[in-house]
Symmetry: C3
Subunit: 245 residues, 3 copies
């Protein structure tokens, strides 16, 4: 059983984040929260999201699973104005999720979740941690585009840096510690990541969000941030590109 | 002889409605009004428009016919700002229509109307009639898109409904009588229509327009509405899709 | 040696004008100004721009040459907001131009200028001269589009005219002397020009600019205008199309 009402903007934020990685997703529903774990087909990036009951206008659920086609959900989101609420109700008999927006009713067939296994979230400790406004990351990505397929993230005791080095050209954004919301880096650490993945997730994060970027040398980067007025936790992992020597 | 001045927004509204069905059109001009009848090449929909002399800023005409290429007229409309007036004058000697917008003059060759016969407008009585704001129809269409190629329109004594049923998914917009501008339906009637035609005409109708939707079981739908501050009458017919059993 | 700071809007204006003709350009730099001469690959149009040191926020240079790929420069311009300044510095050792916008650094490899010869700017006297707002020229071009590939420019003692004549249709914009900023034409002169070139340059000129259009019978047209608050002079030549008899 699952019946919940949510602000359209909150659902939109969540769906756009997840759809940077997968087309279909399994939501795991409990009385306290809705959660998901997803890994992209190439196994380069992974996402884990926990949306607490308080992120919803109203929320009533027992343990269940719902598989959704995210493109269909996006088409429903387009029917809602920014101030609309969306009511979702699981029709278990018919295997559908029912969306209601004002006087619109949209019944959506569910995706079979039996073959959708939860990916294992890696337990890793990363030595550096940077709290940075998403606008800075977005600026860094725009500068990097068309120079190379990879972006280097670097933290040192004085600041945080995104840089991109092509055969002849180079772009670099340095955020000094004074413009960061927080920085922990005992020494300089850096890793190289695929620009397309990093760019997709950074562009999907809403303006104004502060992201906790956890880094180390040649390790995955972990992006931690909150959505839904702090009631949803997102954890995103992206595998590094290890340069062979 | 035909010489008239019209607000660019009024002409734009008329042209966009007609061009949902045909690329070329014959205007029949008399001292009292400009009118047209057009049917799409597949004979699925038909439109009749009568534009009274009062829809124009100034209007002077004798009986005549003018055939126009609507894409060319649209390119002229793009030259006019929303507050511009457009002067049209028939140059009978040259077989052209002359448009003037400010200090721009545009001479347009006419389309031969000798083979353009007026379609016969069907005389049918439809039992139900619904007066509904175009914004509701537009919302219903957006919900229906990507679910099926057909849309069902339904009227009953309690309200009006647009619905679309695909193999697995369904979308529905119900407008209760309280949100309608008027409703006459003794019993429930409904018909199925091609979504693309219905969508094209509904999207071309200006915001704020109230449409009189006349319906019956497995009959054409008739959409009646006014443009040009009430001085132009539009009547649009769309053939039903009869489901074979 | 070259180091200069410039408003992003000023650099944008200059780059968009030049890139209507060429993809790569050689800037000739002196202590007093930055200048360029460029001719399009088909040798139909030519441009000469002189940007005085006062067009810059700060400017420090010795004689040098810098070859730039304009698409790359446009990608840098996209990183700057309208109120941002852009610092440019020539790294002679590395053969790069370094751009700085806030905390972004962009190192750009230079284009080899050894094979880029300065085109010879023609010395011609044109008998008519019209000072006209760029908005009028832009309106005339929009009216001409899709009618013909050529546009006629005409000046006579009473006004200035753009006209375009196709096989069946015609568009014309006449600006009477009262709506011009200046007019010198003893007799009527007119020439025909390729619409695509004329359209590209006219669309790239910023709103509000007054252009000095110099004309004669079957001669190139010369467009003279200022950018950068009057501190940059642009001279654009476009070859006429001589109609064979």
């Amino acid at each position: 059983m699952f019946k919940a009402e949510i602000k359209s903007e909150t659902l939109k934020g969540l769906v756009y984040i997840v759809s940077t990685l997968v087309d279909e997703v399994k939501f795991t529903i409990s009385p306290e929260q809705m959660s998901l774990k997803a890994i992209d087909p190439a196994h380069v990036a992974m996402i884990e999201i926990n949306v607490g009951a308080k992120a919803f206008v109203s929320y009533e659920a027992t343990d269940s699973e719902i598989g959704l086609d995210l493109d269909k959900v996006k088409s429903v989101l387009k029917l809602a104005g920014p101030s609309d609420n969306i009511v979702m109700e699981h029709d278990e008999a018919q295997g559908r999720l029912i969306f209601r927006i004002g006087n619109i009713t949209r019944r959506m067939s569910l995706v079979d979740t039996s073959s959708m296994n939860d990916p294992k979230v890696p337990q890793i400790n990363l030595s550096a941690s940077v709290q940075v406004g998403i606008d800075q990351l977005q600026k860094g990505i725009r500068a990097a585009e068309s120079i190379s397929d990879h972006i280097a993230l670097e933290a040192d005791p004085e600041g945080f840096e995104l840089s991109c080095e092509g055969d002849t050209d180079m772009a670099n954004l340095r955020v000094p510690v004074a413009e960061l919301k927080g920085l922990k880096a005992d020494t300089k650490v850096s890793s190289l990541y695929p620009l397309d993945y990093f760019s997709n997730i950074v562009k999907a994060i809403p303006a104004g969000t502060v992201v906790d970027v956890q880094l180390d040398n040649d390790y995955p980067v972990k992006l931690l941030f909150k959505l839904a007025d702090g009631e949803a936790d997102v954890c995103y992992f992206l595998a590094p590109r290890i340069e062979s020597e």
